[in-house]
């Protein structure tokens, strides 16, 4: 639930930046005034695709996977959580690269980008914590199953 909520917030944030990029929004609300500088720099796009649009796609996939993981047929399975960990891990790595570019190459900060960085890290931490909890719970089930002589699949 936390991952889905954060993914939705990230999706809205990325959509805002992307809509500005394509001219739908006149000016960005940005306290430092350097959001536009970051967004319009050569690093604002990767292989011709705006970074904000990559964010829209990434958060949308995270949102879908996290909602699927909540459905009755999937809630007890590990796959959605594993996928969320992999996808958000890729997101964290990409965000780390973008933050490095902001800090050491273009020397400008975009608050929205930092917000997105915070969100993707929070999703990753939440999902990894959930995986660890699941593993511990599995271990306990195995142990109790072995003690009682019951099968533990």
């Amino acid at each position: 639930m936390v991952a889905a909520t954060l993914s939705l917030v990230g999706l809205l944030l990325s959509t805002y930046l992307w809509l500005w990029k394509i001219g739908f929004i006149g000016s960005l609300v940005c306290g430092t005034g350097t959001c536009e500088y970051v967004q319009t720099s050569r690093y604002g796009a990767l292989l011709g695709v705006p970074v904000a649009l990559i964010g829209v796609g990434g958060y949308l996939v995270l949102l879908i996977v996290s909602i699927v993981g909540l459905q009755p047929g999937w809630a007890e399975r590990r796959e959605p959580t594993v996928w969320l960990a992999v996808l958000s891990g890729i997101g964290v790595a990409f965000t780390a690269y973008l933050t490095y570019i902001e800090a050491f190459v273009i020397h400008a900060w975009c608050r929205w980008c930092l917000g997105s960085a915070g969100i993707i890290v929070a999703i990753f931490v939440t999902v990894v914590a959930e995986l660890r909890t699941d593993r511990r719970a599995d271990g306990q089930t195995v142990a109790s199953g072995a003690a009682s002589g019951r099968p533990t699949v």
Binding site: Y16, G26, T40
Partner: protein
């Protein structure tokens, strides 16, 4: 978790989506830079630092554009909006456009670009060089030796290269450019692009419609 137990959660997601979507939709209307007032230019400002002018002396209004060639927002404005402004407001005699150098201190490759434009200006090709610098900005903004790329632009627009090289080698515009940047700072112009019409200052990118609306209202005010 049972499906019915998820209902409040889904409702919460929908609420967040609606609030966020609504905020984005409202932000759509904020088309353009922030407007505020500025002290009028000193009488000597234009005489000492005239900048580069497009349009007629008899135009009712003058718009000053303070820009930095390494600024991506300036690039965007000059590529997307300025051609419209020139065609529909400058060529029709409604406004005069004055470019003012405002190299920002945190842009390492900005001063050489402004020098290159000034040297092109000596040969009457400032605006052509401006186009080259903006269109090619991604190719020189972070390189170690931007002058090499600027020299290619000079060749491309047909400058007399011996005069251009002599001009760039002499650094004769450097002190003027630094002085222009300082003067702009004193006037409160610390970001680019900034547009000044009389005592009205607009900071940030501005669309054609916003600029035209402002020109219309100021022109109406000037009519007897």
């Amino acid at each position: 978790m049972a499906k019915s137990g998820l209902k409040p959660f889904y409702l919460g997601l929908v609420a967040i989506a609606l609030i966020g979507g609504g905020a984005i939709f409202l932000a759509r209307g904020t088309g353009g830079g922030a407007t505020s007032t500025i002290a009028p230019a000193l009488a000597g400002d234009t005489a000492v630092m005239p900048g580069y002018v497009l349009g007629s002396d008899s135009a009712a209004l003058e718009v000053e554009e303070y820009a930095d060639f390494q600024c991506p927002a300036c690039r965007m404005f000059n590529i997307v909006t300025l051609p419209d402004v020139v065609e529909r407001l400058v060529k029709t005699g409604r406004i005069r456009w004055r470019f003012k150098d405002r190299p920002l201190e945190n842009h390492a490759n900005s001063l050489p670009a402004h020098q290159a434009a000034a040297c092109a200006g000596e040969q009457g090709r400032f605006w052509e060089m401006q186009d080259q610098l903006y269109y090619g900005q991604p190719d020189w903004e972070f390189v170690r030796n931007p002058q090499k790329k600027h020299r290619e632009y000079a060749q491309k627009i047909g400058l007399d290269m011996s005069k251009y090289d002599e001009c760039m080698g002499s650094n004769r515009y450097l002190s003027r450019l630094v002085a222009e940047a300082r003067r702009a700072t004193v006037r409160g112009i610390t970001s680019t692009p900034t547009f000044v019409i009389g005592t009205i200052k607009i900071e940030g990118t501005v669309g054609y419609d916003q600029l035209k609306a402002l020109v219309d209202s100021l022109t109406a005010l000037k009519k007897p």
